[in-house]
């Protein structure tokens, strides 16, 4: 009984043989349209914050560090690689790359920071009022979170993992009200 069962098992494994891949010694290409680490193209990005508003992992931070400089930080440590950011970006500034070997001991390796220069109004000298009049802000739904500039109060709690220095510099900054 035992023996026949063993013989049967041997026959069963003989046919497929060895299927183990040589990875990581040989590269393993991913499938087409794989969802790996998202990558930003700062030439295309208009700084609308749509990706930050729709990221389920809330791992994209949008901050106006001064009147004309908007900072966007993507912290890959919390990214779920869902591709939602790439979906919602109106400028197609985000692509999901094929990069999946992202294990690292240094968080900075998978953190991306972009500085975006925002336009200043030629009449009043201020930034465009992004919160209410920007076309893309109409995409913004209620329920916009910490990255909503009106909701500063909750920022420290939700973003404590971001670089302390960046946070500090932005916290003292008061945005002019229109």
């Amino acid at each position: 009984m035992w023996l026949t069962s063993k013989i049967k098992q041997i026959l069963m494994v003989l046919k497929p043989g060895v299927v183990t891949l040589k990875y990581p010694f040989e590269p393993r290409p991913v499938a087409k349209d794989f969802r790996g680490q998202p990558a930003w193209d700062h030439h295309k990005c208009v700084g609308c914050g749509g990706c930050a508003a729709h990221c389920p992992a809330r791992t994209i931070l949008v901050r106006d560090i001064c009147q004309e400089l908007r900072i966007m930080i993507y912290d890959g440590a919390r990214c779920a690689y869902c591709g939602r950011c790439a979906d919602v970006c109106p400028e197609d500034a985000i692509v999901m790359t094929e990069q999946f070997e992202l294990a690292t001991g240094d968080r900075d390796d998978i953190t991306v920071t972009m500085e975006l220069f925002m336009l200043t109004c030629q009449r009043c000298g201020r930034c465009y009022n992004m919160e209410t009049t920007n076309m893309i802000d109409k995409m913004e739904l209620k329920g916009f979170r910490y990255d909503h500039l009106e909701m500063r109060a909750v920022i420290p709690k939700a973003t404590e993992r971001f670089d302390a220095k960046v946070l500090e510099a932005t916290e003292r900054y008061e945005r002019p009200r229109t």
């Binding site: 049967k8 494994v13 499938a31 209620k142 329920g143």
Partner: protein, 557 residues
């Protein structure tokens, strides 16, 4: 008996205590009742053939000072489901417990004792279930006044008090890291010699407050991605169940093509899940050839998923209003090819399992629970179908494109672990059958995403059911005003099934513990340790996973 008849009957029998009935669609009936008749009405519905699904508690204090409670029931043969709603003032949150009559409500009610501060009169075991043992009394995290990120200070010297061991038995605690689950869970098994005489359970150690998070932080269309991460194996099931519930509440109709794509994704998920289970079950009883081969076959499905969705798991396909990616003719062809290979290889696997005497010895007559008990405990999925209960959400409450599919629901009557194995193997072939039909009949046009209006109507109730690989998943959604659900209740299939595990274990050998637990298909873990304490001497020995597996593998053979 259909929804209209039940509504009429209840109104006749309970008069004005049944305040209102509402049937937003022919397959749903919401019954609002006075708090005093909650228990008799629930019992009446159960007596009329309603299978208890889950209870939902919610906080309405800000709106009208009450806490709401809903019990849901499915009428499988008649293809509809009922929800009995009631409420109590927050100052006096007393409800009659339905657990004495419907044992499976036990966990739901304990959950709301913890999370909402409800009290249930007559509950047989009003112990803490969800909250950590050192969580402060009187803080109920699902109440709206409690912030989602509250972290109360940890306390020392508080521990869960296990149930009293029956006379003459020794206690074997298994956990807190479980021998065959991914999640840390703590069983205390009461044994007399090698025979299991009882069992107490302490789980929910990885309770992450996902419901609270999604009710307060993210918006409607981000929840599917969070929902998908509830389970590493049947993720799209949860995303689909949630999306369907919201769509039902908001009256969104998705295109037929999107429904077909959802069907394809769900069945691919079932294929991978069943093959995974088969492998692990083989491993647990020491049949590693099955483990290796089942996982080898499964790997092709994982690659296929990567091709279709962009990832091996957490497919990210389902959003409210439809799906995100298309299944093009080329991909459909690839699926067909993989299916042909998987079918052939699973047949080989099936032959070797069905005829293997050592598998028979380790699984037949093990983990027995009778059909009557299984009905009483509202078991679901392959666990129920192995006990002769003919239920399957795909057929009984069709969703996505399942109303177009013809397939069999395998039911066996062996009432043991062997039965669950047979059911799952047969379901693999049914899944392949469904996939082929879906690919063949898929309409070639129709938008992937339906037009979803600006704001979804608030305060609508809806719930949806989906047949996950392990059984029925149920989500209940109350739509909210902030572009996110006001209440979202998730019930995974293991929730009812785990509650009946003590019953399945009764009278079995300790060596069969892993496979009995495994037979309900929770997730398996590699980090398990087992502490064996001899009750008489107090001597303590900690078993590693290897040792536990060795005991398990020696088994009866």
């Amino acid at each position: 008996m259909n929804a209209v008849e039940v509504a009429r009957k209840l109104k006749e029998e309970f008069g004005a205590a049944v305040r209102a009935t509402d049937s937003p669609s022919p397959d749903r009936l919401f019954i609002d009742v006075e708090r005093a008749v909650l228990r008799p009405v629930s019992n009446r519905i159960a007596a009329l053939g309603g299978r208890y699904i889950v209870s939902i508690g919610y906080d309405e204090i800000a709106r009208n000072g009450t806490l709401g409670l809903v019990h849901t029931f499915a009428f499988d043969a008649d293809h509809w489901a009922a929800a009995v709603r009631t409420s109590a003032p927050a100052s006096d949150p007393l409800f009659d417990s339905i657990t004495p009559d419907i044992p499976n409500a036990g966990w739901s009610e304990r959950e709301y004792m913890d999370l909402l501060g409800m009290k249930f009169v007559g509950h047989p075991k009003p112990k803490r279930l969800i909250l950590a043992d050192d969580w402060p009394e009187g803080v109920h995290p699902l109440r709206k006044e409690v912030p989602y990120n509250l972290v109360p200070p940890a306390a020392e010297d508080v521990a869960y008090r296990l149930d009293e061991a029956p006379e003459g038995t020794a206690v074997i605690p298994i956990g807190p890291f479980h021998s065959s689950l991914h999640e840390p869970e703590h069983f205390a098994v009461y044994v007399d010699g090698e025979t299991i005489k009882g069992c107490d359970y302490r789980g929910f150690m990885t309770h992450r407050g996902i419901e609270k998070l999604c009710q307060t932080q993210v918006s409607y269309n981000e929840v599917p991605f969070v929902a998908e991460r509830i389970c590493g194996i049947c993720g799209s099931v949860h995303a689909t169940t949630y999306a369907q519930a919201v769509e039902a509440a908001a009256g969104i109709r998705i295109s037929r093509r999107a429904e077909y794509i959802r069907t394809v994704i769900l069945e691919i998920e079932r294929l991978h899940s069943h093959l995974l289970w088969l492998g692990v079950a083989g491993h647990l009883i020491g049949f590693d050839t099955v483990f290796m081969q089942a996982w080898r076959v499964r790997e092709r499905i994982m690659w296929l998923s990567e091709r279709i969705t962009g990832n091996r798991k957490t497919y990210g396909m389902v959003v409210i209003g439809g799906v995100r990616r298309d299944i093009t003719p080329e991909i459909a062809k690839e699926i067909e090819e993989v299916l042909a290979g998987v079918e052939k290889e699973t047949l080989v696997l099936k032959k070797s399992i069905i005829g293997d005497t050592s598998i028979h010895r380790r699984t037949k007559g093990v983990g027995v629970i009778s059909k009557e008990e299984s009905v009483r405990w509202s078991l679901v999925g392959p666990v129920a179908r192995a006990r002769g209960i003919d239920i399957d959400v795909r057929r009984d409450h069709p969703y996505a494109a399942y109303d177009d599919m013809t397939f069999d629901v395998p039911v066996v009557t062996s009432e043991d672990v062997w039965g669950t194995l047979v059911v799952r193997v047969l379901e693999i072939f049914e899944a392949i059958k469904i996939l082929r039909q879906a690919l063949r009949n898929m309409p070639s046009d129709g938008p992937l995403l339906a037009e979803v209006g600006e704001a979804l109507p608030p305060l609508r109730h809806a719930f949806s059911l989906v047949e996950a690989p392990r059984g029925e998943a149920a989500h209940y959604v109350i739509t909210g005003e902030e572009n996110r659900p006001e209440r979202w209740r998730v019930r995974a299939p293991s929730y009812p099934n785990l509650q009946a595990v003590p019953l399945m274990l009764l009278g079995d050998q300790f060596a069969d513990f892993p496979i009995i637990l495994g037979s309900i298909d929770p997730c398996f873990s590699c980090t398990d340790r087992v502490a064996v304490i001899d009750a008489r001497t107090g001597r303590r020995r900690v078993l590693g996973r290897q040792e536990l597996e060795n005991i398990s593998r020696r088994g009866k053979g």
